[in-house]
Amino acid sequence: MTGAQGSLERSAGTRDGEFPLVFELSRQGRRAWSLPETRVDAPELDDLVPEKFRRPEPPALPEISERDLVRHYTRLSQRNWAIDVGAYPLGSCSMKYNPKVAEEAAAMPGFAALHPMANDDFVQGALELLGSLQTSLCEATGMEAITMQPAAGAQGELTGLLIMRAFHEANGDARRRVIIPDSAHGTNPASVSLAGYEAVEVRSDERGLVDFEALLQVLDEDVAGLMLTNPNTLGLFERDIVRIAEAVHSAGGLLYYDGANFNSIVGVVRPGDMGFDIVHLNLHKTFATPHGGGGPGSGPLAVTGRLARFLPAPVLVFDEGAERWGWDHDRPDTIGRIHSFHGNFGINVRAYTYLRSLGPEGLRRVAERAVLNANYLRALVADSFPTKYPGICMHEFVASAKPLKRHGIRAMDVAKRLIDFGYHPPTVYFPLVVEEALMVEPTETESKETIDGLADALNQIAREAEESPDLLHDAPVTTPVRRPDEARAARRLTVRWTAD
């Protein structure tokens, strides 16, 4: 982030001192584009397009020079935090370093310029890469089959739930409910609804884990399955996972693994070995693909052998005899297609690159250092920001700003003040089961020095809360804008620019 834009940004037509919108830089007649003339012997446009389909005037896109376009987006980018700028300890988001080598790989013309419906014979390298990635992800999760179609975790969730539904229906077993812990991500219940199921919440116990007795009470023959994030969003490993799995299975249900936190156990323990039947992964988390300001992601969905026949079609297969990779569309039991094509292939190339860079030892190191960093940071700030649940955490911990409430300080104030110290804040007010929650995930790619600095900043903020709380109320003071009015945004809805 640079604060140097100031007066440089003043161009005619923009409000004084405001950062301009690209539309406010527009001047009629300016252009950046360079495209060919038609240059073939064809009728004029009006002779080819009947009047009722014609657009009299093209849309009001901005008219700007390429130089202005470059400065506008360069300056916009400078108004944004990123992993490449500094630490980004958003809990549950696994904002780790995204290796540059993966960008180079995804940009290779032999991947980036492939048409998705090209004949399989012409894309053998891409299919081999996908095949190898699929095999490795199955091995890492302890599953037997996988689809790379889901574009993100939530699409993987829906895919998994539809497979759950297909499995029960194939058994003539109409079930209506799916159990979700109260600490789960919001996508879980939303995906359950979209799959046509009813979400049933099971509470966490005093350990922050699934309350096993409460689970037994809601577990019956109407339950299609249980969705579980393990470790959960409190950063805690579900210690009862084996008896949970047994209970769900003996009630005829399936166990769904939400892979949002897989980065903390990769190479250490596998969902399949814990008893899970269905697993989605978020490749932008565990496998270090860039998250692009909110996307793209990639949410592959893996299953045990007995569920493989339900996977979305087409399925990637290797013909040993012909030594040829290809898509098998003849899948009578498939739940159907879930993506326009083959999923976020470009992201999968990056994940493959990452995986090949790390190898088995590197993957385990990821889990170890992610957990080490989280516990180390937690220990350094424990006096200022206590954690509700004792013991060792996994890749993240949920601290509470509750002790600061008596000074009139909320978790959001701590978050905003942390910005002034040069760190992105943790996730705040999630999960809902912790009051004034600060959910912190340093990830394995932050150094000890960075974590020491982050801890110093958090501890100083706790002191400031007591001694000079206005520093927190007024924060941040180092950013281009300060505490935007979210209520006003919703009340006086402006979701697109219009010329005044």
Binding site: L61, L76, N119
Partner: protein, 446 residues
Amino acid sequence: MDFAPHTEDDDRSMLDTLGLEALDELFEAIDPSLRLTRPLDVPPALDEVELLDHLAQLAGRSRGPAGLVCFAGGGSYDHHLPPVVKALAARAEFATSYTPYQPELSQGVLQAIFEFQTLVCELYGMEVANASLYDGANALVEAVTLAMRTTGRSRVLVGGTIHPHYLQVLRTYTSGLGLDIEVTPFDESGVVDWARVDATDAAAVACAYPNFFGRLEDLAAASNVAHDAGALSIAVTDPTAMGVLAPAGALGADVAVGEGQALGNPMSYGGPYVGLFATKLDYVRQVPGRIAGETVDADGRRAYVLTLQAREQHIRRAKATSNVCTNQTLMAIFASVYLGWLGPQGLRRLGEVCIRRTAFAAKRLSEIPGCEIAFHGPHFKELVLRTPVDARSLERSVAERGFLAGPSLGRWWPELGDCLLVAVTERRSEEDIAGLAEAIEKELAE
């Protein structure tokens, strides 16, 4: 090579702080009987030199960019990718950021989304757009479920000329929701006769414009049929056509969706792409996914935030408008930079070149003995070539001759087994078109 910076001293000192002896103790919560006692059976680590060689070798085993002139279409297109687009949109400040939960640190992405929303509204003649969805198919699904919620109905009429994959995805997504999907037939000119469609009790009528065959559907008629029955009109529409074709909003569509890949994003074997979603303000509280809104900050400065979040899964959970969380923001920024590069006149030129070169290609390809244009009438950038042979094998053999056309249509419409889709973008020159025609001629002569 992993990317954790820890030295042995770091490990030791951090473990000491925790009062632990070994890293293994960090996993004490996991029952030892569950833990792996071996390394994962995945390929060994490669150093960066080996890794890039390996990847280049894999990439080299895909014959596409170098050896094939791309006339393939069907939802993914070989348009010009201006270098400035990637230079800006792929900047690490955009690429390596997360969802803009902290607006003070995310004004760049938030404003980029706000601008993207404006651009999509301008393209489609709509009032509100979201921050993107996964792809074109996903955008159609979200439009249909919006219509179901809005109307309280559970029947949808889908034009038979919509992308067959989008229809498949719609079926999959809604399989648990009790949606009755009815596909309307198309006539001998490759468009739906909307006046004959009965939309009684429908939540929505979905029309592809231009359609999968490149033909211009009468979207206004589809909208009328929808509105007469109290249904919403959904247009699945190609953004690259919006410089020359009347926008969906002007033709009565209530929701306009589309695939934004063609706006500056590489084909990349099918993803990451970007689903475009725009509608009218009346439906803004039913819109799926993220929306950036303008507001002011504590000092009265213009600022942007994520808004109307009560629609979304992290607040509303089981009752959210959609389960979408991660979207395709980075691809939306690619699209925004691309549209800024084009401007109104560039978009118009793009559309004009596509339409006129497609008309030229239609004329040239129909001169091939035994071949004809399957559907007559106005086209945008695709056409269907009827051949005297099985189009699937023709597609393959023409590709051997260096021209990638298709897809062949028999996989979805057996009666069109002799038909090949051909897409003509501004990158395809007169010589390319002649080359494709000659390749088909030679193949048919053999």
